[in-house]
């Protein structure tokens, strides 16, 4: 059948099973939005306040569902507004397809109105990108875009489509899409045997899970592996939820804001197995003192990650689920009672939460632990970036994959609100809570209007300390308490702001109010905002300064001003 390019785009989205897109209309995508109007019964379009919100929403949708997120923007500023969202998805290996309009092919390269070379701009922050100049190539290119986004290590793909291509007509035939088979391993049997032998010989193994456990859907295999190896399990920020935090073998995060137990265990272990991870600088710290007594085994689907940030002794390249399945067959059950007893002793000695007396003051720890309790650890937690992000990672006990949605690699302030909306749209059955700080909140708080307009019932839980807390923490430690530009004290009236967006809101200023207000907030079936006023000098601890040895985390920061 003969369709316009715009109609073909929507048909291709339907082929992929896409039922929701996030976007913002404009001149170069008028034809596409005409098709979105025509297909409105088949595909839901959520208009955000800003294209950046659309990109983060598509990303949050992808992280919460495991499906590919789709966002749409017009040419020029519409396209450039997506860039931060695309880069965020790229750093965290999130499958996403971004569709941008561009000026008509004859106008390309002439500095036409709202023209920008978005494929050139996004080349370093996409897994791949296309510009389609011929409508006959449109359908296959879009299919290829989805294939690339989801094959192997996932990532964002941008497809730039000039306006005349969306207007042109072309023959279209629907194709059945076969999802890429990612269940593979490139490593030889011999390499598996070597790793199995290492595990059998190890007295103090240490397992470390990254985002790859989640993207490959390997949580079950991971649980089984941990049981077989009988080892403590630590997680990266991205790996949160890949292993049940309530499991007795779980010892908390590893790295800059990891637990002391993890730091001690990594320094003492004789075998370190990194699973679906890229050994971020935020985890390794000083490379020489990282796991100094251990042989390091690296499991990842991307061969380029092996020996990139750390030199490893053994590697198993492949899909994490596939690799763990094979290891689970090879490795006989181990018994490390003594090692785990040592771990438990450290847990006892160095609990994450050191109870300090804040009286009736609200502390983020208390709020998050209460939230965990009230939601039975079942909520989907999204975050912005900063102290609140680390607290959320530390004090909410994630049970399963896709429960924790955060910008790990790029560290994008302003990510969370858009992401929470995407997550909620993708998982209407889940309670979705965005943990924010007042700094991040101000970056993209315009998206509250999207939550209201589309009735996306997220809880915006805002920790207001009137400062850029994480930067302040660094300034306190490393810049002689010169709090340059981090004392915001903006005096925003969040209650009035929420009211302006027709969103119910609550303000917590005392510890005794926390439980009741959270209970109320969680009962709403509309978006709701909760402001928690907290002290500006509550720090994220423990802390391993950038590039410092992981075995000497800072446990206490003196506040004497």
């Amino acid at each position: 059948m003969k369709l316009t390019g715009a109609q073909i785009i929507i048909e291709c989205l339907l082929e992929q099973g896409v039922d929701t897109v996030f976007g913002y209309p404009g001149g170069a995508v008028l034809n596409l939005y005409d098709a979105i109007y025509e297909y409105r019964s088949k595909i839901r379009h959520i208009i955000t306040a800003h294209e950046q919100g659309a990109a983060h929403a598509a990303d949050g949708y992808a992280r919460a569902t495991g499906k590919t997120g789709v966002c749409i923007a017009t040419s020029g500023p519409g396209a450039t507004n997506l860039v931060t969202g695309i880069a965020t998805a790229h750093m965290d290996s999130i499958p996403m397809v971004a569709i941008t309009g561009n000026v008509a092919v004859p106008s390309l390269g002439l500095d036409s109105f709202q023209e920008v070379d978005i494929t050139g701009i996004t080349m370093p922050v996409t897994k791949y990108n296309f510009i389609i100049k011929d409508v006959s190539e449109l359908a296959d290119t879009l299919r290829r875009a989805f294939e690339i986004a989801t094959t192997g290590r996932p990532g964002p793909v941008l497809v730039d489509i000039p306006k005349d291509v969306t207007a042109a007509a072309c023959e279209y035939t629907r194709k059945e899409i076969v999802k890429p088979d990612n269940y593979y391993s490139l490593s030889a049997d011999e390499e598996y045997r070597q790793v199995a032998d290492l595990i059998a010989a190890s007295k103090k193994p240490f397992l470390y899970t990254g985002g790859g456990v989640i993207s490959s859907g390997a949580a079950e295999e991971m649980a089984k592996f941990a049981e077989l190896v009988d080892a403590p399990v630590s997680s990266s920020l991205m790996g949160q939820g890949g292993f049940n935090n309530r499991d007795s073998r779980y010892i908390g995060m590893l790295g800059m804001h990891g637990t002391v137990v993890s730091s001690k265990a990594v320094s003492d272990c004789d075998l370190f197995i990194g699973i679906g991870t890229r050994f971020s600088d935020r985890v390794i710290g000083d490379i020489v003192s990282f796991a100094p007594k251990a042989k390091i085994v690296h499991i990842d689907i991307d061969p380029a990650e092996i020996n990139k940030n750390i030199h490893v002794d053994h590697q198993l390249v492949g899909d994490v689920r596939c690799v763990l399945d094979r290891l689970n067959e090879l490795v006989p059950p181990q018994d490390h009672t003594e090692w785990l007893r040592q771990i438990d002793a450290w847990k006892e000695e160095f609990p994450l939460h050191v109870a300090e007396d804040y009286g009736d003051q609200v502390t983020p720890q208390y709020v998050l632990e209460t939230l965990d309790e009230l939601t039975h650890g079942d909520a989907v937690i999204t975050t912005e970036v900063g102290q609140h992000q680390m607290w959320a990672a530390q004090y909410y006990d994630f049970k399963e994959p896709r429960q924790f949605i955060t910008s790990g690699g790029l560290g994008t302030m302003g990510y969370g609100l858009g992401a929470s909306m995407g997550a909620q749209v993708g998982r209407p059955d889940k309670q979705v809570i965005n943990i924010a700080g007042d700094g991040s909140f101000h970056m993209n708080c315009n998206e509250l209007v999207t939550a209201y307009k589309h009735n996306i019932p997220i809880v915006e839980l805002l920790f207001n300390n009137s400062v850029l807390g994480m930067v302040r923490q660094w300034q306190r430690l490393f810049y002689g308490k010169r709090f340059s530009q981090t004392t915001l004290e903006r005096d925003t009236d969040y209650m009035k702001l929420a009211e302006a967006y027709h969103i119910p809101s609550y303000r917590i200023t005392k510890k005794s109010e926390v439980r009741e207000v959270l209970q109320k907030a969680l009962r709403h079936d509309t978006p709701v905002l909760v402001e928690c006023v907290i002290d500006r000098d509550i720090n994220v601890l423990p802390m391993v300064p950038a590039g410092a040895a992981i075995d000497k985390p800072i446990l206490d920061i003196e506040i004497d001003d």
Binding site: T119, G120, M123, P124, K127, Y128, I131, I148, D302, P303, A304, I306, N307, K308, H311
Partner: protein
């Protein structure tokens, strides 16, 4: 880890728009060094072959190889060694500043079996193909005659069968 040294890579890639930018962008954003780059279509117009000369230790070379192989357009990356491949470079140079020194320049050209491809009143244009070291030596000897302009192709390498 080894000492940094010169490495030659031969890359086969799809002839898609922006493919040169993807390769050059990868090298620049990851801080890899490019000493020379030469690229053109192969017998199949859909495929481009590129020879890149880079400098780095063995760990960097391993990363360059893997990062290049990750690019969607890249079909094959091969590290060219003197054992497994043939390497050549081409140079065009215009030199000379008087009739007399042009006469001596012709002698140098003959010595290297360089071709004279253009003659003007006071200068000559010469071309030469050979191993990079030969090209270097040739340029060294032409220099005293006054090089007006020159263009080297960058290294071309092909694996032996």
């Amino acid at each position: 880890m080894t000492m940094p040294k010169k490495h030659v890579l031969s890359i086969l890639m799809d002839n898609n728009s922006g493919v040169m930018l993807r390769i050059a962008g990868l090298f620049s954003r990851r801080g890899y060094n490019i000493e020379s780059i030469a690229a053109a279509q192969t017998e199949n117009p859909e495929v481009v072959r590129m020879t890149i000369v880079t400098n780095g230790d063995s760990a960097t070379l391993e990363q360059i190889d893997k990062q290049l192989s990750k690019l969607v357009d890249v079909r094959e990356v091969r590290v060219m060694t003197s054992e497994n491949s043939v390497k050549r470079e081409h140079v065009i140079v215009q030199a000379g500043n008087s009739e007399e020194n042009c006469a001596s320049l012709i002698q140098v050209a003959n010595l290297f079996r360089a071709n004279i491809i253009n003659v003007s009143e006071q200068s000559l244009m010469l071309e030469l193909t050979g191993k990079p070291r030969k090209i270097d030596a040739f340029i060294q000897l032409v220099k005293p005659f006054g090089i007006k302009k020159m263009m080297r192709s960058g290294l071309l390498a092909l694996e032996r069968e």
